[in-house]
């Protein structure tokens, strides 16, 4: 039986009392922090051994797309290429090849492992409100806000779910700014034409 390596989460020094006992309050020998521990069985679980792909023994057996001498066990869920157990990347009972997994992560196609999202609604609202400090900037930013709202209306928002209210508010503010500019231009034209008549 090998003791579980247990280290201080602050300074990463090894704690003296390994394996940990549920409910104990160990103290780090280096930074002297005292911890309350809540441990679960996964702490003592051994890591599973990496899969070993079988070699092709019979002629006519399907082979892996990436390893021609390895036996294919299943197709990629995304591209359909045959994969051996080395190339099989399982994500929530769906199987992907390494390249599809990488593309899926980059493009956010595999929702369960998506790790980043841009908040276009916040961008639109900031673009609508922040330039109001320097009003003349809104001549450019108001149309830009409307563009962001229209362009990203269907783009997924936060993963924890949020409404499109921010987009609506941003669009309304931008429209008001555009209306404001139209009124200003109209008034200037009226003023200039009045002076010309005089």
């Amino acid at each position: 039986m090998s003791a579980v390596a247990f280290s201080c989460p602050r300074c990463f020094a090894a704690l003296k009392s390994t394996p940990p006992i549920p409910g104990e309050r160990p103290q780090c020998p280096r930074c002297l922090s005292v911890f309350e521990l809540e441990i679960f069985p996964a702490l003592f679980r051994h890591r599973e051994k990496a899969a070993e792909a079988e070699r092709v023994l019979l002629e006519g057996e399907s082979t892996c797309f990436y390893h021609l001498d390895r036996k294919a066990i299943l197709p990629c869920h995304s591209c359909g290429r045959f994969l051996c157990s080395l190339c099989d990347c399982e994500v929530h009972s769906e199987h992907f090849c390494p390249s599809c997994l990488e593309t899926g992560v980059k493009k956010g196609r595999i929702k369960s492992i998506e790790n980043r999202r841009v908040r276009h609604d916040t961008i639109a609202l900031t673009l609508a409100i922040a330039p109001m400090l320097f009003f003349y900037l809104t001549l450019v930013t108001a149309p830009a806000t409307l563009f962001v709202v229209v362009r990203h209306w269907k783009t997924p928002l936060s993963i924890v779910g949020s409404t499109r209210l921010t987009f609506v508010v941003a669009a309304l503010v931008a429209l008001l700014q555009i209306v404001g500019w139209i009124v200003i231009v109209f008034l200037v034209i009226v003023f200039l034409s009045g002076r010309a008549n005089l």
Binding site: M1, A3, V4, S7, P9, R10, P19, P20, I21, P22, S33, V34, F35, E36, L37, E38, I39, F40, P41, A42, L43, F44, R45, H46, R47, H92, E94, K111, S112, I113, E114, N115, R116, R117, V118, R119, H120, T122, I123, T126, S158, I159, V160, G161
Partner: protein, 171 residues
């Protein structure tokens, strides 16, 4: 695959490295769904997600610290200093009461929240700090919600010699 429904566990709190970077630091919040905890770091216009699946969570560390006492000291000093200055200037009792109320509220709130701590979650591949669990009371409340879900997936840990018992269970 449909997106899971998340339930908020904590409001966001700055993942602060230093006082200088506090303004640009991401804000971390914690969410719960049927099979994992989701930590969201919101910075500027992007969100970064970290999922801690119940089957992978090995331990939670709660490290009590003296942040509440430090804030109590600072807020009390500010309150006393203002009362002394206003008293010396001959302010009326009403003014002193207003000053005490305004400066006393943060002090009361700090004490209502209770002792401070840092919480870390450990999986087989990482130890991650959860800054939004900055008070022991709140951390215990969240752990009370998460614990049964983790136990439902992993089973309970025997009280005596957990390592041997777990290894035997696996064999």
């Amino acid at each position: 695959m449909a997106e899971p429904t998340y339930k908020r566990l904590t409001w966001s709190r700055t993942r602060r490295k230093s006082a200088i970077t506090a303004l640009r630091a991401p804000r971390q919040s914690l969410w719960l769904t049927h099979d994992h905890l989701l930590s969201i770091d919101s910075a500027s216009f992007a969100e970064e997600y970290k999922r801690f699946y119940f089957r992978d969570i090995q331990a939670f560390f709660i490290c009590p610290n003296s942040r509440m006492a430090i804030w109590n000291g600072i807020l009390s000093a500010v309150l006393i200093m203002h009362l002394l200055v206003f008293g010396w200037m001959g302010a009326s009792f009403t003014v002193l009461a207003i000053v005490a109320a305004v400066l006393g509220i943060p002090l009361i709130i700090n004490n209502i929240f209770g002792p401070a701590c840092r919480v870390y979650v450990r999986t087989s591949v990482q130890v991650e700090e959860l800054p939004s669990l900055s008070r022991i009371k709140r951390a215990q409340r969240v752990l009370d919600k998460v614990r049964p879900l983790v136990i439902a997936v992993q089973g309970t840990l025997p009280a005596e010699n957990p390592q041997e018992a777990t290894e035997e269970q696996m064999q």
